[in-house]
């Protein structure tokens, strides 16, 4: 194994966020700046020190403008990772690499969207033009047939997963009920004090069978940012560092964007397995060393698949894991303790990174005992990414 590694050489030392809403009432750029300034203040770092910025596609706020507005002096690394929510942990990989290699001293990552009040991903792609680009041509295999929304793209794989593994839509509901039970305790969650029952899930309307309304995450306005510095500097700052023990991206196995219908087994998320293998190798730990996880929950079925791909249960056994409540606060692996995107807000996964940091610090509203390692995953069905945070480096 190569001695060259990013593991433990950087840490998340600041997190910041706006409120999560359905109508922020201000520009996306203002949300971005508010979250970045809050993250710097949380870290105790002057924003003028920020010399690296990374975000991901489908965010509309250019890195240079955020840097200019926060009073940045010299931006030495800026990057924008593709595939929307699948990239959520990708900027942390960029930050960890930039810090570990000495390119940057202080990297900020952010996500800021008015994804409810100004536009909605959930409305789909039916009105796209007919240009010859790769992406438009790829939509052409699906959208003329009416398969036009993220929910519908996921539903096609989910139907195969449920059929193959003998899982039911009630199992999907258990993911949703779990997320909302965590959000019920989180004053920052949109669904604070609004838990749901399995019956509520089963009674919610169909969006795209086998997915119901309560299988789909919210659409939200809001922003989240994190600050990454070296492990040496992290030890001098005010909060307990959340060390980046592993960060990875993955794309493989006839990968498509949301429509990997042509791989041998469409019930799998092979790319998550690729990320898992890298994270565990970088960090020198395995799934049994993880006390809590943030499992990307834009849609409930892919939470089940991820539990398997990241090794928390055997393939096809996520239904048993959920039925015995292992994902709840009282279970062996509490997941999405902030409420997830089903319960807290849909900030495209960056709010999950912040929750991972809170669990390391001991600041979560649903704090898990003796947290040594936290797994954070990113959007699924697309090329994806993951993060493994540690209390020690």
């Amino acid at each position: 194994m190569s001695k060259r590694t990013i593991s433990g050489k950087s840490a998340i030392v600041g997190i910041g966020a706006t409120e999560f809403s359905k109508r922020s009432g201000r520009s996306e750029m203002r949300l971005a700046v508010e979250a970045v300034l809050a993250a710097c203040a949380d870290a105790g770092i002057d924003p003028s020190e920020v010399d690296g910025i990374s975000t991901y596609t489908m965010d509309n706020n250019p890195e240079m403008e955020v840097h200019r507005l926060i009073g940045g002096k010299a931006l030495k690394m800026f990057s924008r990772i593709d595939y929307g929510g699948g990239a959520a942990c990708g900027p942390l990989l960029q930050a960890a690499m930039a810090v570990a290699t000495g390119i940057c001293e202080c990297v900020v990552v952010y996500r800021a969207m008015n994804e409810r009040s100004e536009y909605r991903f959930g409305t789909g792609v039916a009105d796209r033009g007919a240009d010859p680009t790769y992406e438009t041509a790829a939509f052409g295999w699906h959208s003329p047939h009416g398969l036009i929304t993220p929910a519908s793209w996921v539903a096609m794989s989910a139907a195969a997963y449920l059929h193959k593994n003998g899982a039911t839509t009630e199992d999907l509901g258990r993911v949703s009920v779990g997320g909302r039970s965590m959000a019920a305790n989180n004053p920052n969650a949109w669904f604070y004090q609004q838990p749901i029952s399995l019956e509520d899930h089963q009674n919610s309307r169909w969006i795209c069978e086998p997915l119901r309304l309560l299988d789909c995450c919210q659409e939200s306005d809001g922003a989240v940012a994190c600050v990454v510095v070296s492990d040496e500097r992290a030890k001098e700052l005010r909060h307990k560092p959340a060390y980046i023990r592993g960060a990875a991206q993955g794309s493989c196995d006839d990968q498509q964007s949301m429509t990997s219908y042509y791989r041998d087994d469409i019930s799998r998320l092979t790319e998550c397995g690729l990320v898992a293998e890298q994270l565990y190798r970088q960090a020198g730990v395995g799934p049994n060393d993880i006390q809590t996880a943030v499992i990307y929950d834009h849609f409930t079925p892919y939470v089940m698949t991820q539990l398997e791909e990241y090794g928390f249960c055997q393939r096809g056994e996520a239904k048993d894991f959920l039925r015995s409540g292992e994902h709840l606060l009282t279970g062996s692996l509490p997941i999405n303790t902030h409420g997830g995107q089903l319960g807290e807000a849909y900030i495209h996964g960056m709010n999950g990174v912040a929750e991972g940091v809170r669990q390391i610090r001991g600041q979560s509203v649903n704090q898990v005992d003796n947290v040594q390692h936290v797994l954070v995953t990113a959007g699924t069905g697309v090329p994806t990414s993951g993060l493994l945070l540690g209390a020690e480096n």
Binding site: H142, H145, G146, A159, W206, E209
Partner: protein, 135 residues
């Protein structure tokens, strides 16, 4: 049936042959002249052997439902709420997405036999829709 149009299709030099084939009533699958493998969706080269020597074969149009959904929301004309959309595995082994027409609810299940129904949806768009193998 509504007169509203389906979403338009982005066509490029790698995919033109497929859409031209449908206009001629043929469901085509890209074929590699070097390694003899098929692939869908098509591309500029063979994903198996990277050859650029590609042509196409005509599918029998027969296959089975590999997975399916029923789309409820949002739906805009010409689609109707609850319409089934299927992932077909063709006899030749490749898969494709298709709006599933002329079906009763009990005919939509994983493993069901289906056949192609190439349909001129409007002046511009001709699609490989699918229907139950026996209707």
């Amino acid at each position: 049936m509504s007169n509203a149009l389906r979403p338009r299709i982005g066509v490029n030099k790698d995919t033109q042959f497929f859409w031209d084939g449908l206009k001629q009533g043929k469901l085509l699958i890209q074929h590699c002249k070097d390694c003899d493998q098929l692939q869908h969706p098509p591309g500029p080269c063979c994903k198996h052997c990277q050859s650029f020597e590609l042509d196409a074969i005509e599918s029998t149009g027969r296959g089975t439902i590999h997975s399916f959904v029923r789309m409820h929301h949002p739906v805009a004309p010409p689609f109707e709420a609850g319409h089934p959309i299927v992932l077909v595995e063709l006899e030749e082994g490749t898969r494709l997405i298709a709006d599933f027409i002329n079906s009763k609810p009990e005919q939509v299940f994983i493993g069901a036999a289906v056949k192609v129904a190439i349909t001129d949806c409007d002046d511009e768009v001709t699609l490989a829709l699918f229907e139950p193998a026996s209707i």
